[in-house]
Amino acid sequence: MNSIVFAFSCPRPRPHDAPRRVTRPRLLQLLFAALLALAGFSPPAAGQESPYIVTYDHYLEEPGSLEVEYFSTFGTQRGGNDFHAFWAEFEYGATAWWTTELYFDGQTTFNDSTIFTGFRWENRFRLLQREHFINPVLYIEYEQTSGADKILKEVEGHDVEADYADPNAIARQEHDHEIETKLLLSKTFNGWNIAENTIATKNVTGGNPWEFGYAIGASRPLALKASAHRCSFCPENFIAGIEMYGGLGDRYSFGLHETSHYLAPVVAWNLPSDWTLRLSPGFGLNDNSHRFLLRWGVSREFSGFGSAISRLFGGRQ
């Protein structure tokens, strides 16, 4: 019997005399629809999107642009059921030095259920005005997720594969409120981008210590010069690279041991029709890691989103 529960589409029936209230999944659905509708009023914009899925480089969203993204992660799970985790991302360039981003996470554990697992609000601030040998960006995120969250957007502390083996009914009872900070360092030269992220996370529920993690990546377009004509399969539309990420323990037990590490080739295809497709097969590097993670994503950037919102409220163009 298929026991999958669709938390988004099947809200629990309410008694006739109960007061009508908007549930959180319903609110999120409405928010999601509103953002997509507003994005529809904005012209699409071709971007030169990075292929990384976990690592961040120092490039922020263009001011006034909204990037709508969807990502999936299929993961194998020893001692439990394989899973498909997914998230929607709304990335807005508030200014040329500040990008703000909202995530909604969910997951399906096979032979178990599909559940909404939380949200994240991320902000990235460019610290220096011009390009330097190394370009730092400060990343600050608040996240409110359940223990069933499996998007593996980063590895922190002593995260290991066994943490993800619990059935959803048990795992979702754990509620995490985390402040996550990252120092993003990145440099582009001769077409190559090299990026390094250092992660420090504090789960403010319970007496958890600061936990640490890392992500590093390198990528390069297949061609550096643009061709003179619009084309889908021109080599400059493809960016390939590799990223590696993992935990660094916590403040009491710092280091690469007793945590998980992954190595993942990445490729992005920036289509002239303004869509970007990403693909990344990831491989666990030790026994604490999932053996295999397959990630893919699709995104579209809408320029002038900020102006569309401004017009909606009577602002000047």
Partner: protein
């Protein structure tokens, strides 16, 4: 597994800190308003002024693609993809970005334009474009240098009508 209560105060503290940081940055970006009357939008003069800040070494750089017959065409394609939102389809400027058919741009060397593209003018809303590979930035410079001045509005108004 432990079930813990939500902490709304943490979320509000986080929101306040982010908004405060944003306000400080915005106020800092709006402090300086010298000689903006000359141009259509007040930000334009401030962006043009950045061209003068290019280091001598950058100003002296020559465009390695200046003899490439496809550079202007490819630069035009890149301009359509990345620049029209702020600078307009005709590169004559919008509220978000200055005209590229203006004297400061004509007078700038290719090296100075390349330097500005690479570094952006982050406080004035222009992002850094170093994510475009160097040859693509030179292709953009080729296109920008190929732009001709717009027709003077007065001449259009005074044109004889038949």
């Amino acid at each position: 597994m432990t079930k813990t209560r939500p902490k709304p105060q943490l979320f509000f503290a986080f929101t306040t800190a982010v908004l405060l940081a944003a306000c400080v940055g915005t106020v800092a970006a709006q402090r300086d308003h010298s000689e903006h009357e000359k141009y259509k939008y007040k930000n334009d003069a401030l962006v043009y002024a950045e061209l003068a800040k290019a280091p001598k070494k950058a100003v002296a750089r020559r465009n390695p693609l200046e003899s490439d017959p496809d550079a202007i065409l490819a630069g035009g394609k890149l301009f359509d993809q990345h620049c029209t939102e702020c600078h307009g389809e005709l590169a004559d400027g919008t509220k978000k970005g200055p005209s590229l058919r203006a004297d400061p741009v004509y007078q700038a060397t290719p090296g100075a334009l390349f330097w500005l593209l690479t570094n952006g003018v982050v406080r004035r809303g222009m992002p850094v474009w170093s994510k475009l590979p160097e040859p693509q930035r030179w292709q953009l410079v080729s296109y920008i240098k190929s732009l001709t001045p717009p027709k003077p509005e007065a001449a259009v108004e005074q044109a004889p009508q038949h």
